[in-house]
């Protein structure tokens, strides 16, 4: 942060009035310096002081919203370069590039990928429509794209074509077309249409100057197209822009990035998968691809979900009965905790065993087996409570329950709490489950 707590404190009323919710003006100033509290929480600072401090205490990277209301997309707003320093906040989004003539054959493929993973909808958030010289065709394609409920990115540098497209693009739209020569006109177009403006430049210097000029015009609703001539240049741009903003406090580059793989790795789907993974870790906000097949989506969306989890909040799965390998009411029950990683590893191994099983996931606070047990979140009581709440005994006829090997000590207690049930102890490690269940069925 550019300003220290003490610098801010000097400008507060120093009355310790607590109107901001903090015990003292000093405490308030410290929080503002950390970016934890907004300056306007203090009702007593003069507008002059606020304006003076406003820029200096603004977050280093702006949060850009595409659209408004419940279905808006949020980009940027990051405060750290590495997730272990705090957390990443706005997950990167995906776009598929479509030519002004090419939407009809591409659209069905794009719409096919739409699924849920741990409560998060996984789909292509944006369609990236490219102008190729026919303004009428372009607008028509944009209209079709907008009708599918996805955000729209317009790649166009022709003012008239841009205007016509903006009129039909809906309200979640990015006008990606500003550069060193047309920025003033495009800034007006975007502002009038309430669109986010995408800016590009032949070099980082040129991009920097264009952003400076746009900010002078009052437009701070921007996204930066980081694509260079090559993959190498594109990666260098993405890193340097983000690093300048977050490490070196250069707010001119404090905007989300647009990474256009359609441009730098056109036609190579496997290389695009590799690059999309790279830019998920390092500083892509929107990643534009030739297409996103299920084969690409499964690892990329999984990776994104991992990288953008808050390190302080464990990923959880919903408690309930998960039927595996065609299990029915007579299939054996297995239980483990709701920590997402445990769930994925265990359910993966159970599926590999080929044995029909009912996997019962109880609420264990999102902890791993041993941690949950140590914290009292996984116990005979919690399992018995879960059985009652979910009415397991009326839904499942089997009376065999397999518990994790690491909590073998719970066997006796669970059998006491759940009369009629036979409790079996599984191995300690998930990798041993396949063997265990194959032999279990035989026995």
């Amino acid at each position: 942060m550019a300003l220290k707590g003490l610098d801010i404190f000097k400008l507060t009323p120093k009355t310790n009035c607590k109107d901001c919710g903090n015990p003292t003006c000093m405490a308030f100033a410290m929080k503002v310096a950390q970016g934890a509290v907004a300056l306007d929480k203090c009702p007593h600072m003069s507008d002059d002081v606020k304006a003076q401090l406003g820029d200096a205490t603004a977050p280093p990277m702006k949060k850009i919203e595409v659209g408004s209301g419940d279905d808006k997309f949020t980009l940027g707003g990051e405060t750290v370069l590495f997730r272990h320093d705090k957390t990443f906040v706005s997950k990167n989004l995906y776009a598929v590039a479509v030519c002004e003539n090419g939407i009809d054959e591409k659209l069905p493929e794009i719409l096919k990928v739409d699924y849920d993973r741990l409560g998060e909808r996984m789909y292509v958030e944006f369609l990236y429509v490219m102008y190729r010289g026919d303004a009428a065709k372009f607008a028509e394609t944009v209209q079709k794209a907008a009708a599918e409920g996805r955000g729209i990115i317009l790649e166009v540098t022709d003012e008239e074509a841009a205007k016509a497209a903006l009129a039909v693009a809906g309200d979640r739209v990015i006008l990606s077309g500003a550069n060193a020569s047309n920025y003033a006109a495009f800034s007006k177009l975007a502002t009038d249409a309430k669109a986010v403006l995408g800016v590009s430049g032949a070099s980082l210097d040129e991009l920097y100057d264009t952003v400076t000029a746009l900010e002078k015009l009052g437009n701070k609703n921007l996204i930066l197209d980081v694509a260079g001539e090559t993959v190498k240049e594109t990666f260098a741009n993405a890193v340097q822009i983000r690093r300048a903003a977050l490490k070196d406090n250069d707010r001119t580059f404090g905007y989300p990035s647009l990474v256009n793989l359609h441009k730098v790795a056109h036609g190579d789907a496997h290389l695009q998968t590799a690059l999309a993974a790279l830019f998920t870790l390092k500083y892509g906000s929107i990643i534009v691809m030739d297409g996103v097949s299920y084969a690409q989506a499964l690892p990329l969306y999984g990776l994104r979900q991992n990288i953008y989890t808050d390190p302080q909040k464990p990923m959880k799965v919903e408690p309930g009965i998960y039927t595996l390998n065609g299990a029915d009411e007579n299939s054996v029950c297995v239980t483990t905790v709701d920590f997402a990683l445990t769930y994925f590893v265990v359910s993966g191994e159970l599926e590999r065993s080929g044995v029909p099983l009912n996997l019962l996931i109880s609420d264990a606070g999102g902890y791993s087996v041993l941690t949950a047990w140590a914290a009292g979140k996984l116990s005979a009581n919690s399992i018995a409570k879960f059985f009652k709440e979910q009415e397991i005994e009326s839904k499942i006829k089997s009376r065999t329950l397999v518990i994790p090997g690491k909590v073998a000590v719970l066997k006796g207690e669970i059998e006491e709490k759940l009369p009629g049930w036979t409790v079996v102890v599984a191995p300690n490690e998930a990798v041993e489950l396949v063997k265990f269940f194959k032999e279990f069925v035989k026995a």
Binding site: T212, R243, A244, G302, F344
Partner: protein, 313 residues
């Protein structure tokens, strides 16, 4: 006003570690910048790619892999084909068949197998363990002897068996040691300290920090590698400056996305294509975080990741 670039070049660097012999030897690490940040300072040694086979052969259930190895009957023939795949820098041999529950191949037989491979393959060799610590201790001692002079990296020295592996492979036969820990910076450092206390030089050691497939807790992998690189470069922690080698294939080819059949999940499409993309995405993410080498199985993944590295360095 032009953009002011502030390069982030560290005074500390990752230890360079050479494996293999002669013209085909490769060097891992040596850089003093974050992964692929060649705009900060030149990166002399690009990340490397290993292709994985096992003492049992190759993954014949994957159509593309079976096709690639078609005609290769013996293990040396398979190894030769693997070594010739475009983009490959080293050969990784997983000794999975030596695990007591998975064939329990005798130590002497294993030694014969890898010697036969070493006789026909010129590129460097990396040995991955059987995942059984007792067996690996005995096995690596024998393999280190059998592969004398080949400058091999033994990847799976763990907390439970590092003593015998460091003594035999590291000290007696001057091979390279890979310290394997489970996605935790403190455990990784502790193991490096223990191995160096045995008298093994830190520049003969690589780290396997553990891995996970994309979507399966990969945030722990990324964050562990991030933190290790940051400690190594920014804080000059010489007990974390070893290059990082990450086995990717063994994680990615077992997850649901890679193995369930197309009949069961028709909308997902070809399982092989899913497996390849899972392997590529995970490998790229490991490299982006800071792995100096990744180990893959499918020749198409090897070719793609090789293209990625070439495009970035």
């Amino acid at each position: 006003m032009a953009f002011k670039q502030v390069p982030q070049k560290f005074t500390a660097k990752i230890n360079p570690l050479t494996i293999g012999e002669g013209a085909d030897a490769i060097t891992l690490g040596g850089e003093n910048v974050l992964p692929f940040y060649s705009f900060d300072a030149a990166i002399d040694n690009a990340p490397k790619i290993g292709i994985e086979i096992s003492d049992n052969g190759y993954a014949a259930n994957i159509p593309g892999i079976a096709e690639f190895y078609a005609g290769a009957e013996t293990l040396p023939e398979i190894a030769k084909k693997a070594a010739a795949a475009p983009g490959v820098d080293f050969l990784a041999i997983s000794m999975e068949g030596a695990h007591p529950d998975n064939g329990d191949r005798p130590v002497d037989e294993c030694a014969k197998l890898v010697s036969d491979i070493a006789a026909v393959v010129n590129i460097p060799i990396v040995i991955e363990g059987s995942r059984n610590v007792e067996k690996d201790a005995k096995l690596f001692e024998k393999l280190a002897e059998a592969l004398q002079g080949k400058n091999v990296l033994f990847l799976s020295a763990r907390e439970e068996n590092y003593k015998s592996i460091a003594a035999a492979a590291g000290l007696a036969y001057s091979q390279k040691i890979g310290a394997e820990s489970a996605v935790d910076i403190n455990l990784a450092k502790q193991l490096n300290v223990l191995i160096s206390q045995m008298g093994v030089k830190t520049d003969s050691v690589a780290m396997n920090l553990g891995s996970a497939a994309a979507g399966y807790g990969f945030e722990y992998v990324a964050t562990t590698i991030d933190r290790v690189k940051s400690a190594a470069l920014a804080q000059n922690d010489n007990m974390l400056q070893m290059p990082i080698v990450t086995p990717v294939a063994s994680e990615t080819w077992t997850v649901k996305e890679s193995i369930v059949s197309e009949e069961d999940f028709p909308e997902w499409g070809s399982s092989e294509e899913r497996g390849i993309n899972m392997e590529i995405a995970t490998a790229a993410a490991c490299l982006a975080a800071g792995s100096n080498a990744v180990i893959l199985r499918h020749p198409e993944s090897v070719a793609t990741v090789s293209k990625l590295i070439a495009a970035l360095i």
